[in-house]
Symmetry: C2
Subunit: 135 residues, 2 copies
DNA sequence: CTTATAAATGTTATATTATTACATAGTGTT
DNA sequence: AACACTATGTAATAATATAACATTTATAAG
C-alpha cells in the first residue's frame, strides 16, 4: 500500500517527526539545544539536524518560534493556516506561552495600514503580562 | 555650572551615551557585536559593556530590540512613552526596519482582551513585508 | 568631609544559539 | 540508468549572550 501522494505531501520526514513529536508533547516552548539533548537517543546528534527540522516545521506552520525566547512551540491553531501571522501571550513570571487565536485580532492586524498605506499579511505579535496563576 | 538634577536623571552614562549615539546615527538596526566593533576605539572593549548599556537603553525606551533580527534601533517615537508597547515593519528583502507609531494600533492592542479577558500593556509586534523601494 | 550605598565600569572566561561546508543517502521522475 | 531534489550525517566554527568578580564612580546621608 504505502503512502499516497497527498499523504506524503503532508507527512514529515523522520527527523522532522521526531522533533515535532517532542515539541508537541511539551507543555512549554523548547529551545533548540534542549531538543537536541532530548533526541540524541533517537539518533539526532548534531545542531544542524535540529535546526533544519525546525526550519521546515516553521515553514509548514506546524510549530512557531517565540522570538523573544528563542524557543519553539507547536501550533495549537489546527496547523495554522496563518503560519505567518502569529500571536502569543507570554507570562513574565512562569514563562508560560499561549498561542492566541482571535479572528478579530488577526483581521485587525492583516487589514492594518501603515502611514504609507502598506498592509502586511505576515506578522508576529508577542504580548507580555502575568498568566492566571501568577496574577 | 554642571548638570541639574532633572537633566541628570535623564542623562546617560558614558558608555550608554557612546552606544546610544552610534545606534541613533545608524540608518539600520545594529547588532551587538557590530556595535562592539564600532566602539572599541572609544574604549569599550568587551561584550558585557555593550550588553549592559543596551539593557539600560532598552529599559529607558531610548532604543528597542528587534527580536526577530537580534538588532537594536533607536526609538523614533520621541523616546517612546510606550517603551514596552512597540511595533515595527520589517522589509524581508532589504531588511529596512521602521517603527510604527499609530495611536489606533496601540489603542487596539492595549485594549485587546484574550480568551480569559486578560489585557496586556506590554507587547512587541513585528510586521513583515516589502518596503516601498523593494516592492 | 566621611561613610554608606548604589550604579556603572573593566576584564576574563564561558555559555548559548545558530550556521557553514561538505559528504552521503534516500525519493520521485523521465 | 540518469537526473533532480530532498533529507541526512558530521565536523568545525560563527554569532549571540551571560556569569563572575574586581574596581571605580556617582549619589545621598549623617
Ligand atoms: Zn499557530
Ligand atoms: Zn505565569
Ligand atoms: Zn519607540
Ligand atoms: Zn526593502
Amino acid at each position: 500500500m504505502g503512502i499516497s501522494k497527498i499523504d506524503k505531501m503532508h507527512s514529515l520526514s523522520k527527523n522532522q517527526q521526531i522533533i515535532f513529536d517532542l515539541i508537541d508533547k511539551s507543555p512549554e516552548p523548547l529551545k533548540a539545544y534542549t531538543i537536541l539533548f532530548n533526541v540524541q537517543k533517537r539518533g539526532i546528534k548534531a545542531p544542524p539536524q535540529v535546526y533544519r527540522a525546525l526550519d521546515k516545521l516553521v515553514e509548514m506552520g506546524k510549530i512557531h518560534k517565540i522570538e523573544s525566547r528563542n524557543a519553539f512551540i507547536a501550533c495549537h491553531n489546527s496547523s495554522c493556516q496563518v503560519a505567518k501571522a502569529t500571536a502569543f501571550s507570554i507570562c513574565e513570571i512562569c514563562e508560560k506561552v499561549t498561542e492566541i487565536s482571535s479572528a478579530g485580532l488577526s483581521k485587525y492586524l492583516t487589514s492594518f495600514k501603515d502611514k504609507d498605506g502598506m498592509k502586511y499579511s505576515k506578522y508576529n505579535l508577542e504580548f507580555f503580562g502575568l498568566c492566571k496563576k501568577c496574577r
